[in-house]
Symmetry: C2
Subunit: 137 residues, 2 copies
């Protein structure tokens, strides 16, 4: 069965080339928060002649298709994450560490905003900022 990202690229009318497949595979398999530079490095391991411009072009394409989304992750800088669903972090001012959590209480608010503003919501990000256990006291 075809990878879901590849399907979305193709059904949006874009060609499914080996360079693009390498980038898609990296983003799909890692399911992590990678920087574009890390995506480049990993995708070049799959398809060595891959150029920087192609990676950035593919990322831009995927962002426009709503498949991935950039988030700014503290000290790591800009990273990519899957666009669907929620992401929840606690970030420490001092050491920059990122703690993920699962609980989320924004479901109702999401519904209400979507309706009131006629906005198709596909994902969300909830981050708390402060000082972690190790950095205060």
């Amino acid at each position: 069965m075809m990878q879901p990202m590849a399907k979305r690229v193709q059904s949006a009318g874009f060609k499914l080339t080996p360079p693009r497949q390498a980038v898609l595979q990296v983003l799909e398999e890692s399911r992590e928060h990678l920087t574009p530079a890390e995506v480049l490095a990993r995708a070049q391991a799959i398809y060595p002649s891959l150029g920087r411009a192609t990676v950035y072009r593919t990322i831009e394409l995927l962002i426009n298709l709503g498949v991935v989304r950039p988030i700014f992750l503290g000290a790591r800088g800009m990273c990519l994450t899957l666009a669907e669903g929620g992401h929840h972090h606690l970030i420490c001012f001092e050491c920059g560490s990122v703690i993920e959590f699962e609980e989320c209480t924004v479901g109702e608010l999401e519904q209400e905003l979507a309706q009131r503003l006629n906005f198709q919501i596909r994902g969300h990000l909830l981050e708390f900022y402060g000082v972690c256990e190790r950095c205060h006291d």
Copy 2:
């Protein structure tokens, strides 16, 4: 009365110089989401000989003091915002527009996480991503 940011800089043991005051004034007055480059431009209007390095050093200082905080705002890239309190955005995949809203339902969750993880929470960011009214249909 002294501007609150200036006070925090001084009471943390840092000198309050004219270049720093220019940067503080820009961040304090605009109460917007400015990029570092925009801060530089506006602060140079106040203190023309201001150098780029000083702006970046001052921003880093303020981030470490927990006064401002970087956020990644869709197409605008990395911007600065006041660290305290909450910030709430709806961001469109297609056109990158940012809509702010006020309602927020994360207060209880904030309390609970702070207690459970022993984390001093000072602010938060809640963003929804999707397609705005003008960009779908």
